[in-house]
Symmetry: C2
Subunit: 421 residues, 2 copies
Amino acid sequence: MALVVQKYGGSSLETADRIKRVAERIVATRKAGNDVVVVCSAMGDTTDELLDLAKQVNPVPPGREMDMLLTAGERISNSLVAMAISALGAEARSFSGSQAGVITTSTHGKARIIDVTPSRVREALDKGHIVLVAGFQGVSQDTKDITTLGRGGSDTTAVALAAALNADVCEIYTDVDGVYSADPRIVPDAKKLDRVTYEEMLEMAASGAKVLMLRCVEYARRYGVPIHVRSSYSTKPGTVVSGSMEDLPVEQAMITGVAHDRSEAKVTVVGVPDTAGVAARIFRTVADTEIDIDMVLQNVSSTVSGKTDITFTLSKSNGPTAVAALEKIREELGFTQVLYDDHVGKVSLVGAGMRSHPGVTATFCEALAKVGVNIEIINTSEIRISVLIRDTQLDEAVRAIHEAFELGGDEAAVVYAGSGR
Amino acid sequence: MALVVQKYGGSSLETADRIKRVAERIVATRKAGNDVVVVCSAMGDTTDELLDLAKQVNPVPPGREMDMLLTAGERISNSLVAMAISALGAEARSFSGSQAGVITTSTHGKARIIDVTPSRVREALDKGHIVLVAGFQGVSQDTKDITTLGRGGSDTTAVALAAALNADVCEIYTDVDGVYSADPRIVPDAKKLDRVTYEEMLEMAASGAKVLMLRCVEYARRYGVPIHVRSSYSTKPGTVVSGSMEDLPVEQAMITGVAHDRSEAKVTVVGVPDTAGVAARIFRTVADTEIDIDMVLQNVSSTVSGKTDITFTLSKSNGPTAVAALEKIREELGFTQVLYDDHVGKVSLVGAGMRSHPGVTATFCEALAKVGVNIEIINTSEIRISVLIRDTQLDEAVRAIHEAFELGGDEAAVVYAGSGR
């Protein structure tokens, strides 16, 4: 008998009918002889509706109260799924994050899980019950206040519970069939991957693949929890994320897939005096506003002027804050101006086999050159190449690279309505 | 500095604008130098919407999950009010029933409060914060599961917190100006009462006055918590419920008011053999279905047949269950038939002064006779007379009694839209 943790997203729980369908799948898993723990996100638009109400009463709502508000959404969906399970004749018990022992830091809105002490979950499982746990939420270790985990929080809850309960697998149900070699909406012959290592999935997620959030994969890798990403609307196997690159057989396909990201913008600080410590001051200024930067490029400084340009990318949503912070130190540091460009896109190639195969970078750049795409920044890791290009050329670039590395499958990818989230 | 507990009902919190208005009143109370604890019901129709969703996934939802579902409503309203308070520059902290230490029995859907241990509430008050507590909910002492208190639960939460915190007053905000000498929609010159004793309020509530639920008044009486019933839409004082009849000055008005009730039905068991134990069997049969009965009448038995009729009243919602249970024992007990009549109404006169004033019953019956109202059952307590009559004559009876005892005020009563709940 296996212990299976399942996580269902909000779109799988949007209506009473969909909730019933999810309940059927859960009961079938139980009847197949498994212990089942289920983590549900809030139904469809619940979170957005609550956010909207909050904004109406307070444009800058306090984080503690925001978390108290938003966590109601997962309580609702979880108890409804428990009811639907009970209508099918099985016994279910729902628990809030706090009741399930999800202990977090006290940073409201983006708390991190410190520990999971699922004694009540274990007890209910021992009684033969199906257990539901409200995702995305926990209780702060210090203040005992309700917290939320931020974006992708329900996936992380599921993986953390799977780790704490030593589950055999954590199934993440979504509206796509699994992890693809590229976004099937851009590349029609993108291939569903049967298996991906944690490292490859981390690089894919960091490069813009939306199917799994980075922190959830990080958590799974740390505790060795196998993740099975699969569709809520079919029973076909999806993609298993597990194992490390060291375990891969030598004949393993060298490239995993192509990821792309439209969420970044480019900031260029022009005319920076090329003296020690100035670049550091610039990056410290951005870091002090709690903004993460991604790619970085520093031009070779001009021997005539002794000045250089520093370019970096960040999330579009952080653009205005970063630019404002930099403008404040312009006179002090003596640079000329700050340029902001949000018409960029990032395309990445990820693959564990890349390490031992020379020529990947050359093929990558040749594929882009052939379709006339100009590279603005290039950045590599051991198993990834990323380039920043014009956003208008992003789709074409994804297709060109996917084809150059022969990543396509035999059958057309299945794309469900609503998979654009 | 006083400690004030305030309770706001769902209609006062129906929209973002109403929530803001409630927040203003709370902050004004705090600024006047009081410590403030606030209990909010769920917003407007939230509970009905959640009930509807539940029914869609399971026609007979398990009580434990129902409570997990419904308690989300109060979390939402409480956190929104906390946000609105914070927008006005004051500090607020919202707590779930469980966090506020509301400990209950484990009867889901109608749990009773066993104890209130409000250490976190006290701590927040000591820091100068306004405290919000989700009404209607608690946590079971035995199972640590989330429970709800049933109808009128938020009022009871407020009174229980006021008792545990030794508050100076528990203000119940509603959509009427206070407790009236009769329903102002029936009696236009009904008078708002400035003060009512616990005993009188208990009799009024038990007789159908909807402004306060019976159990909330019982709780207040047991712990001596003064309740101030007042309007969310004005700053005028309402009705204070406090003190016992023993404390009343002799010249106190002898009659409090007229209450009426359309929620009851009448059951008559016809041709009951008049032998020892038969009536007891009938009432035991009804009691075993967990149905409360109200008024009872046993006719003098006919000397010819040795048979009698037994009549009693109960809530209309329980009618079918009671009739079915009685039909099952008809042959065994040998009675002729069970009659069911749901076109009855109950009108009651309540007043502490009644005890020491003979002739009240006579005046009461004369008033009804004068307008041609026939009395079907009569039932009295030390401070109350109730009669069962035809429902079509109920309004007229209320007006006749109100006038006979000269209970009217000088000004017309204020009736708000929506006070029909």
